[in-house]
Every structure is written in structure tokens, then in C-alpha cells.
């Protein structure tokens, strides 16, 4: 992700920061590029940049991003609030035109064939757009008509989806009476009504309780089993760890890293983290521990020693032996692999949930947060 110097000239968006979707992309590649080399990548993003201009400031929400999404995977876009995740999704779902760069969704170019793209994607936005006054059935029926599902199969399909979301018995109940998790599940299956090739989920479990989150995750996995590529944005690490085949870290509009969960964790040189609770901490104990070859660092904290080691499980018996030797009483011991959060902190130097990030988009009432 370099390329600051070879970035294409950016074009001016409208002064209100509201971009013009109909605007032709001046650097848009030949549309045939998308049509020809589809292969195993369902989405190909090439040097995509989105700049919002305001009277007061210019915000680069997406900064020269290039990556591919593979067919059939669950792809996670992970980053703090305001990282540019939603902007990227909005570009891929044809709601925004990029300032520069191109992207192909299946065999279509986002700037050239937005209408074809709309018929092969399903989108579940961050904020609920269900009609709470209407029943679950009516909500699905309405959406089914928008995405042009034939009347003969619509009814059957609606019940299929309701069953998928375990909401069959609530078909005729107004959505306003549903819990947060039920609404979310309904909204996710709604986006799936026309068997889209790609499902975009923007923060699918934001604001849900743990039980509902698990249900939503289950739902997402089931949809993925139906050969749907799923792209989800989240700022929850556990969600990404649980669901995603590959994870892209995004921060301040830039793609920081993209790989599988295991490979991302290997990026951290400090290995596993072993925490030992003990009564007394002596210098000889510390120095003896530090002498173990696999151990990278030893830090003494209050009533606790934090050890970082490669192949932590193999080091554990050695640590036991040392404690025996010094006859120090061990009150607890735990080992954990570095979490995605640790990876993110390592890569950016900041916490993922850090709320103090500057919003990547201008303060504009019409655009919701990332």
C-alpha cells in the first residue's frame, strides 16, 4: 500500500461533500477488464480512492486501496470507527462513485455497470431500514418486489427466508414487536432474498446482546454455506475471528494488512502470552526465566509475571520446573495466543475500539458513521 506518488489526480466532489453518483470516473479502466479475468476473485479493487471535500476540510476516506475478495469466502473489513469501511462498502454497492481507481464486482465495473451490480448484490446497512409498522412478511414481500422476484415464487421464498431466520411463527407480527436480534436476522435474510452472489453486511451485530450476536453469526455462516460471498465490516475482533476466512485491517482509509486470521497472528514477533500469578517475585527467578531460549521477554507486574514466548505450550513445563526450583508458589497460570486486537495494536500502535479516531467523513447530516 504505497503509491502516494503515483496516485491519479483526484477530482473535485461537490462542495457539500455529497458526491455525484452519475459522475463518470475519469480514470476508469476499460470495462472489458472486469468482464474478462473474473476467475476466483469475485471483487477486485484497484487503487481505489475516495476524497470528501467540504467547505472546511478535505477528508480522504479511502486512500489508494487495492485488494481482491475471493469467491465464496467470508471477508472481514476490520477497523476502528471512521476508518473508511463503510465508505468502501458504499463504493462497492454503487452508492458512491470513487474519486479515482476502479473496482470490479463479479464481471462488472462499478462505474460502468452499476445497475447490473445492484442485481447481484444484497446489502444490509448498518442502520435498520425495516418498516417497523409492517409485518415481517410484508417487509420481505416489499423488498422482494424491489429486487424483482417473480410473484409465483415470492411467497414460497419469503417463508423459506423466515424459516432460515427462525421467524416463521412471527411472519404476521409487526416488526416493531421484534427484539434487536430478530430484526437484524430478518434484515440479513431480506438482503438474501434474491440469492445474491455477494452479501454486504455493515456492522451486522452492532448494539446486540451476546445471545443475539451468536444467533446472527450462525445466520451468516448458514448463508455462506449457500455459496454466497459475504463481506462484512466490523470493529469487533471476536466477530472477525469467529466468522472471517480472511481479514483486512483498515485504518485511516488505508489497507494496513490483509490475510487469514492465523497468518495475521504470526505477524506479531512476540509469540504467545503466558501470564503467571505468584506470591513473591525475585530477581533470580526473573533472570532464570529470561534465560530460556524460546522466551522473548519477561515482565514483572504486581503479583503477576507476563512472559512472551514462541511455542508457548512447549515452554510451560520448563517454567513449572523453574518455579519448583525456587519453591515459589504459583497461584495461577494462563496461556493465550495473541488476539486480533494485539495484532491491530502491533500494526497501528492503537487500540481498535479507540473512540478518539477522527471520523473519516465530513460532518454531514446525511451520511451516517462508518
Amino acid at each position: 500500500m504505497s503509491g502516494q506518488e503515483n496516485r491519479k489526480p483526484v477530482q473535485e466532489d461537490s462542495p457539500t461533500g455529497i458526491p455525484d453518483i452519475s459522475m463518470k470516473n475519469p480514470v476508469s479502466a476499460d470495462p472489458r477488464v472486469c468482464a474478462t479475468s473474473s476467475g476466483e476473485s469475485i471483487i477486485r479493487i484497484d487503487h481505489l480512492t475516495k476524497i470528501f471535500r467540504d467547505k472546511n476540510r478535505t477528508v480522504t476516506a479511502v486512500d489508494d486501496v487495492t485488494f481482491d475478495v475471493k469467491r465464496g469466502e467470508i471477508f472481514g473489513l476490520l477497523g476502528p470507527n471512521g476508518a473508511g469501511k463503510s465508505t468502501l462498502i458504499r463504493i462497492l454497492t454503487t452508492l458512491l462513485a470513487p474519486t479515482s481507481g476502479t473496482a470490479c464486482v463479479d464481471t462488472y465495473d462499478i462505474s460502468e455497470n452499476p445497475e447490473q451490480i445492484r442485481s447481484i448484490i444484497g446489502v444490509c446497512p448498518q442502520n435498520s431500514t425495516l418498516d417497523v409498522e409492517l409485518t415481517a412478511y410484508d417487509n420481505l414481500e416489499f423488498y422482494g418486489k424491489l429486487v424483482n422476484i417473480r410473484d409465483e415464487i415470492l411467497d414460497e421464498r419469503i417463508y423459506e427466508l423466515l424459516a432460515m431466520a427462525d421467524l416463521r411463527d412471527r411472519a404476521q407480527a409487526p416488526v416493531g414487536t421484534f427484539s434487536g436480534g430478530m430484526k437484524r436476522k430478518l434484515e440479513i435474510v431480506r438482503a438474501f432474498i434474491h440469492h445474491p452472489l455477494i452479501l454486504f453486511l455493515d456492522e451486522p451485530t452492532i448494539g446486540l446482546d451476546p445471545e443475539s450476536r451468536r444467533e446472527v453469526w450462525h445466520q451468516i455462516t448458514r448463508l455462506n454455506d449457500e455459496k454466497t460471498t459475504i463481506i462484512l465490516t466490523t470493529h469487533y475482533m471476536d466477530e472477525a475471528e469467529k466468522l472471517c476466512n480472511r481479514i483486512a485491517f483498515v485504518d485511516k482509509g488505508k489497507l494496513i494488512s490483509l490475510d487469514t486470521l492465523d497468518n495475521l497472528k504470526r505477524l506479531i514477533p512476540s509469540g504467545d502470552i503466558i501470564e503467571i500469578g505468584c506470591g513473591e517475585i525475585t530477581d533470580p527467578l526473573i533472570s532464570e526465566l529470561s534465560a530460556i531460549p524460546q522466551i522473548i521477554s519477561v515482565a514483572a507486574k504486581k503479583q503477576k509475571i507476563e512472559v512472551r514466548a514462541r511455542n508457548g505450550t512447549q515452554v510451560m513445563p520448563v517454567i513449572y520446573a523453574i518455579f519448583e526450583k525456587f519453591s515459589v508458589n504459583m497461584t495461577s497460570i494462563s496461556i493465550r495466543a495473541p488476539s486480533l486486537e494485539d495484532v491491530f495494536i502491533y500494526l497501528t500502535g492503537r487500540k481498535l475500539d479507540d473512540g478518539n479516531n477522527e471520523s473519516a467523513q465530513p460532518a454531514n447530516g446525511r451520511r451516517r458513521g462508518t
Binding site: 455529497i18 455525484d20 453518483i21 452519475s22 454497492t93 454503487t94 452508492l95 445497475e115 445492484r118 442485481s119 448484490i121 446489502v123 446497512p125 442502520n127 435498520s128 431500514t129 418498516d131 423488498y143 424491489l146 429486487v147 424483482n148 447530516g365 446525511r366 451516517r368
Partner: protein, 364 residues
Amino acid sequence: MTMIRGAMAIFKRDFRKFLGNPFVLMFTLLMPIMYLVVFGNAMGGTITHVPVGVVQEGPPFNETPLFINGVVALRHFSQADNPPLFDVTVYTSEDNAKKALADAKISGVVVFPSEVSSDHAVRLYVDSSDYMTPTMIESGVRGVLQGLGAYNLVLVSRIYGDIKYIQFFGVGVIVMAIFMTTMMGGGIALIKDREMGIHEGYLVTPVKRTSIIVGMISSGTVRAFLAGLIIFIVGALITGVMIQSMEDFLLVLLVIFIASIGVTSLMVSIASRFSNQQEYASVTAFLNLILFMTSGAFYPTIGMPDWLRWITVINPEWYTVHALRSIILRGQGLAVIMPDLIALLIFSAFAILLGITTYRRTLE
């Protein structure tokens, strides 16, 4: 002490928000001022230049001294220092004069008797579908005759019967129903939907943009139409005005429909222009005031000062009220309301175009 601190904090917060929206602030202050100006001028204005026809009874059409003096006196008749009360047109035959009255070109016809003698009555025909002018014409004519020393009997004939104010006003309420349902119900719902991202949700589906707009305008039109129809029926029951024929009923529906589609499209364009509910509400309240006041629903527009009467020329509500009153109170047909219909069609076409363009802009 803590109570005061809390109260102060809330006061400051509320006040800051109040001042933070100068647009709403301006309209809130503009409202009562407009009420004063519009209401004051519309209701309290002096009625002048009432068009009346004068005709000499015949045949033979020998102009009697009473007729000649009467015409002159009517032309110069005025209340205090105001401009003349009547615009007098002299007709050569009684039939022509009555036809002009039936077509609402004039508000009254004075028929002078063929012989100068106090036992021949002066006949007076007035357009009683208007609320103010009949009594003004009657008192004017009596005053003129008295001034001339002619003590003829005056026979007053109200050509549409006795129309009460509630019947006169009842027609205007139909227009109000159309406007209110659309502006208050429809507009706010539209802005809310947009705020919730529902319209954006439409855009990620293959649905055509044209379909979105057509769907929205048609649902709003049907809603406004039903509101107008219900108020028309309920109003007819309350005020006791009955439609004379099926043809008249269909004409009423036509007028309500054209007005509904125009007002709905106008609402779509205003609601697209303002993303803030408060701003939208203050603009529509203002529009509602000025359009309704100058529609002639309350009070004949003839009493308004010229500058206000200009607003009636571009006011779709005026044409709607006029057309509905022609059909409902006067039983007049398509021929009379044609100019109103044309004006409403022009307004609606313009509003639809405006609605489509402004709404499209919010999608892009």
C-alpha cells in the same frame, strides 16, 4: 443550588439549539408577522371595484333619466374616501347581463324599470355564492336610488339561493384537507424515511429511480385525494350542500385529483430540499398560511389589496377553491371552470417536474 445549576444547564442547551438554527428562528418570527399582514389585509381590506352590470328594462330600450342618472351615480358611489365601490358595465339586453352574471363575470345585475314611476320596481340580481358582495351591492343600489330621490321598490333576487357562510367556507376546507394531509403527513414521513436510510436502501436494489419517484408521488396523490374526497362528503353533510348531478360530482373529483397530484409533487420537492424536519415544518406552515389566506376560502379575494391579489394569480389553491365553488355552489359546468383546470394542470405539471428534479438530486 444544584436545582438551579441543572435548570440553567437545560436552559442553556435548549436556547443554544434554538439559536443554532437561524432558518427556523426566522420563520418562527416571520409567521406572526405574516399573519398580521396577510390576515389583516385579507379580512379587513375594503371591498371596492365590485363588477356589476346595469341594464335598461325593455323593449323599448329607451334610456330613462333614472337609468342615466343611476349609472352615473353607481359609477361614483363609494364609501367614505375609498375608490368607487362598483365597476359598472352597461348591457344592452337583460339576457346578456344575466348570462354574464351566470358566468361569474359580474357579481350583480341592476335592471332599471322602463318607466319612471315609483310603482315600477328596480330589479336586482346578485351572485349569492359570494359571501360579501350581495349585501354590498344591495345597500349600494338602495343608497344610489335614495340619493336620486327615486323611491322605487327594490326586488332582490339571489340567483343561487341563500348561501350561508358555512357553505361558502366549506368548499375551502376541502383544499385545506388536501394541503394538510400532504404537507404534514406525507412530507414528514418522507424526510424520516430518508433520514433512516430507507431511500438509500432502495438504491442498492435494481429498482429504477423513476419507479421510486413515481411510486412516492402516486401514493401521496391517492392519500391526498382520499382526504379531499372524505372532507367533501363530510362537509356536504354538515353544511347541507348537495351536488346536483353526476357530471358535477365527477368534475369535483377531477378538480380534487389534479390539485392532489400538484400539491403532492410540490411536497416531494420541498421535502427533498430540506433534510431537517423542523425547517420543513416551518416552511410548510408558512406556505399553508399564505396560500390558504389568499385562496379565497375564507373571504372573497376581491377585498384584498392588489399586491395580495397577485399572489392569488399564482396560487393553485385559489383556482381549486374557485373551481370547486363554481361546481358545488353554482352548479356551473366544465365551460366555466376550464380556466381553473388549465391553471391547475400547468401548476401540477410544473410541480411534478420540480418534484422529480429535486428528489433525484437527493439520490445522487
